[in-house]
Every structure is written in structure tokens, then in C-alpha cells.
């Protein structure tokens, strides 16, 4: 059992195990399921992620409200042209994150990871890492357990709900989970995984939840696209051993404190931030009358 990052690291160090091993063993104890059963469910989870992250790359997927859609294909087409600022890898990752967000907004099938609003980040991060690091599906499945373990710590000690903690709690948590998984899959230590998670949360601390018309669309999809980039660079920072001064557990506490300090208008009410702009209000009026 572990409630905090320090406890998770102790378990890893005592038994010389990866975070994914500790999470799988904890889950076996908690549910009575076998390792094989857990791996099988996670395999199904990965399959849903793969489909959602690629479905909108080459076909325009429109949201139910009609407000958004088609950005995954736009970024993918732009990437294919070859001349970009941030390169094929980063642009492809953004396109995949957009894809899941667009599938979600069109009433397609996704995995809440940890929420539907932030569901684009982890699938894109996993698929991007698979391409770059030449990983097998089994590697990704193990990585998803690492991601879940980090998500559990954030959910227990802070929140993963935008209504409670703003976007930092949803897209921040998703990026932190993804960053930790990538580091483990790239061969980094458990401590580096938690450093990466801490970086991802630190990079966007204070990010508000201000969806136009209260719908999981705009700027949610943008923040999934930038969220996967946050996850990738946070993993790189940790693998480069960039100095991490505030430990992961304290970053999580700080995120929670910041979230509670946010006014209600910036916590998923569709009132403040971009939702409260003239255009945001106009869009809302158009959809709901």
C-alpha cells in the first residue's frame, strides 16, 4: 500500500522494483484478481486509447454541439507537409491528443484518464513513446499501471476534478501520469518518474478550468494538445536529471492548495476565463439559446 510518493519510492527501493510492479501487486491484493486478469483489462484499455488517438487523424470529427472539431486532421495534414517549427514528433503527438478529445466531444468511445476532459493526453503520450522508443504493447500496458499509480496519489492527496481544482487537476494530473510512465518506459528510475510528474504539475500550476458553454471542448482540446507536450518535455527534463527542488508530494499539495484558492468562476462553471469572454458568452448563447 502507498498513499504518497515517498511511500511508493520506498517500496520500489526496498524490493528493487519498478513503479508498475508495485502498482500491479497493490491492485492484485486489493481486488483479488490475478496479474494476468489485470494485464488483460489494461490491454483492453490500451486498445480503446489507440483507437481514440488515431480515429480523427484523417477524418474530420465534429463535436455534438457543433462548436469544435477537425483540428486533429489539420495538425496531421500540416505535419505531413514537413515544414514545422516543433517538428514531426511534437506535432504528431498534438494531433493524437486532439483526436481523442474530438472523439470524446462527438460521443465516441474513450478512456477517462483520469477524466474525460483530459482523456487525450495519456493515449497520445503512450503512442508517441511507443514510436520513439520502439516499445511493445506489453511495455505500454506496464507503463499505464505506473500512470495509474501516480494518478491515485494525486487523487488521494489532492483532486482530479476540474470543478474542485481547475484544469491543473485534470490536464495537470494526466500530464503528470503520462510523464512518469514515459520515464519508466525509457529506463529511468522510479525517483525520476516522480520528478517528471512533479515537473508536469509545476509547469501548469494554477491553470484554470474555463470551458466555453460548460462543454468539454474549448479550450479543453487545446490543453490536451499542449498537455501531451508538457508530459513529453517533463519526461525529458527528468531523464536529463534537471534539478527537482520541491518533491512530488509537496507539488501535489501545492496544486491542491492553489486549486482550492481558485474562484468558483474558474472551476468548471463555464463563467470565467475564456468562457466569460464576449465570444465565449456568444458561443454559449448560440448553443443553448
Amino acid at each position: 500500500m502507498f498513499n504518497r510518493g515517498t511511500e511508493l519510492l520506498e517500496l520500489c527501493n526496498e524490493e528493487n522494483k519498478k513503479i508498475s510492479d508495485i502498482v500491479i501487486e497493490k491492485e492484485m491484493k486489493a481486488t483479488g484478481m490475478t496479474r494476468e486478469e489485470l494485464i488483460k483489462i489494461m490491454g483492453e484499455t490500451l486498445n480503446v486509447m489507440k483507437t481514440s488517438a488515431t480515429e480523427a487523424l484523417d477524418k474530420e470529427v465534429k463535436s455534438l454541439s457543433g462548436l469544435t472539431g477537425g483540428n486533429s486532421k489539420k495538425v496531421q495534414d500540416y505535419t505531413k507537409k514537413g515544414k514545422t517549427l516543433s517538428g514531426v514528433f511534437i506535432n504528431s503527438a498534438m494531433a493524437k491528443a486532439f483526436s481523442t478529445s474530438e472523439v470524446n466531444a462527438s460521443m465516441g468511445k474513450i478512456v477517462a484518464a483520469p477524466t474525460a476532459g483530459a482523456s487525450g493526453i495519456l493515449p497520445s503520450a503512450m503512442l508517441s513513446a511507443q514510436e520513439k522508443l520502439e516499445l511493445s504493447d506489453d511495455d505500454l500496458i506496464k507503463g499505464l499501471f505506473t500512470a495509474a499509480g501516480v494518478g491515485e496519489i494525486i487523487a488521494k492527496n489532492a483532486t482530479i476534478s476540474g470543478a474542485e481544482g481547475g484544469c491543473q487537476a485534470e490536464c495537470g494530473a494526466a500530464a503528470a501520469m503520462a510523464a512518469a510512465a514515459i520515464v519508466e518506459m525509457a529506463g529511468g528510475s522510479p525517483k525520476s518518474s516522480l520528478d517528471a510528474a512533479g515537473f508536469a504539475l509545476s509547469n501548469i500550476m494554477g491553470l484554470v478550468c474555463d470551458p466555453i458553454a460548460g462543454l468539454v471542448e474549448y479550450p479543453c482540446a487545446l490543453r490536451n494538445a499542449s498537455g501531451v507536450v508538457n508530459a513529453l518535455i517533463s519526461a525529458d527534463m527528468a531523464l536529463a536529471h534537471v534539478q527537482s527542488i520541491v518533491p512530488f508530494d509537496e507539488v501535489v499539495e501545492a496544486m491542491y492548495e492553489v486549486g482550492k484558492a481558485l474562484p468558483e468562476t474558474l472551476r468548471e462553471t463555464g463563467l470565467g476565463g475564456l468562457a466569460g469572454t464576449e465570444t465565449g458568452k456568444m458561443c454559449s448563447k448560440k448553443i443553448f439559446g
Binding site: E44, T45, L64, G108, K109, V111, A116, A148, G214, I287
Partner: protein, 222 residues
């Protein structure tokens, strides 16, 4: 500190866009149908609060209909549920109303039958796809549908609870929680079990003297 499992964090696998406004709405619809029973020709959804304000953009309407058609939150047909209801000759009505002091994501689902009286269920989607049923035909109660549940209404008299628990024990069913409330002489029981319930248990319980209503609800995937 609340416990989370791996698949609470990486899950549910669901149809978007919102765990509370879509996935939770499917579960509310499905559990209400199980409580009310088959054979309805019309269903009216009376939406309250945030459900009433934003149901169209989140597909809450399609999700609720999918639920009363028996779909799960990960069913890709949810988006077509209006058409599927029509194919099944079920008339669908949506309205908005202030249902009083309730969670913002609350719906009253009114089932209409040719051969019996209207039946209604009130429930709320309380976040992350979790739900709570708070009222059945005017009887206030609390059930979340996460465990196999037996719902009972009976004229209160001595010994009913022991008769029920002995039926359950004979079939090796373990009671997880049991809550009984009483309005005048009518008692309402919500009994959660550790194992799934089969219909023979319901048949046995319904033979107990003075039972007015008994229904079993097995959990709906999240």
C-alpha cells in the same frame, strides 16, 4: 482518505463527452428502468439544475434514453438512441422543472404503462459516472447501484427482516448493508449484497406475507 483502484483512475471506458453528464446519465437511465420494470410505452425525463441547462451540449438526453433502452455507458449506439427508441415504439418526452433541493445533476424519470400506473424514479449524477437514486414513487431512499441491491416495500410487522435474511442466508448471499426506513406503516428496505442476485431469490422473497414490492438490481458497469 478515499481509496482508488487502478481502473478508477484509468477508466471508465465510456462514451464522451462527460463522465457526469453522459456516463452517469446512462447509468441513471438503466438503473431506473430496472427499478420500474419493462413494458412502458412512454418515458418523460424531467431535468433539474445543470442537467436542464446543458443537457443538449453534453448529450445527456441521448445518454438517458440509452439507459432506459438498457445500454451501458460504453455502448457506441448511445449517439443514435433517439432513433433506437423510435424503432422500439417508445415515446420520449423531455421537460425541465425545479425539483427542489437536489444535486444540480438530477433527473426525474417517469415511466408510463398501458396496463399499470405510472412509475417514477429520481436520481442524481454525482461525479465521475457515480450516481445516487433518492426517490422511488415518493419513497425517499439512497442507493448507488454499485453493489447488487434488493429493494423492498412492505407493511411493517415483526419478523420481516429475519425472514428476508434467512432466505438470503439459505442461498449463501451475504448482506453488505441494510437500511430500513418507515413512513406510517409502510417500510422501505435497501439491502446491498456481496454477490449477484438471481430471480429465484426475488420470487422467494415475494412470497413473504405483506410484501408490497420487491425488485433486484444488479450493478451496472461504470
Amino acid at each position: 482518505m478515499k481509496e482508488y483502484s487502478t481502473f478508477d483512475i484509468l477508466g471508465p471506458i465510456m462514451i464522451g463527452p462527460s463522465s457526469s453528464h453522459t456516463a452517469g446519465a446512462v447509468r441513471l437511465g438503466k438503473i431506473s428502468k430496472q427499478i420500474a420494470g419493462q413494458g412502458f410505452y412512454e418515458v418523460e425525463f424531467i431535468l433539474h439544475g445543470s442537467f436542464a441547462m446543458t443537457y443538449k451540449g453534453h448529450g445527456t438526453d441521448r445518454a438517458l434514453i440509452a439507459g432506459i433502452l438498457g445500454m451501458n455507458p460504453d455502448d457506441e449506439r448511445i449517439v443514435h438512441s433517439f432513433d433506437i427508441a423510435k424503432e422500439n415504439n417508445i415515446n420520449i418526452v423531455f421537460s425541465a422543472s425545479d425539483l427542489g433541493y437536489q444535486h444540480p445533476n438530477t433527473v426525474k424519470i417517469l415511466f408510463k404503462y398501458e396496463d399499470k400506473e405510472d412509475f417514477y424514479v429520481i436520481g442524481s449524477s454525482i461525479g465521475g459516472g457515480n450516481i445516487i437514486i433518492t426517490n422511488i414513487n415518493g419513497n425517499e431512499l439512497e442507493m448507488n447501484g454499485n453493489k447488487p441491491t434488493i429493494l423492498l416495500k412492505y407493511l411493517d410487522r415483526k419478523g420481516v427482516i429475519s425472514e428476508i435474511s434467512s432466505i438470503l442466508a439459505k442461498d449463501q448471499l451475504n448482506i453488505a448493508t441494510m437500511k430500513v426506513t418507515r413512513d406510517k406503516d409502510i417500510a422501505t428496505m435497501v439491502c446491498e449484497l456481496d454477490d449477484n442476485i438471481n430471480s429465484s431469490i426475488v420470487d422467494k422473497i415475494s412470497t413473504i406475507d405483506k410484501i408490497l414490492y420487491v425488485k433486484s438490481i444488479n450493478p451496472i458497469v461504470r
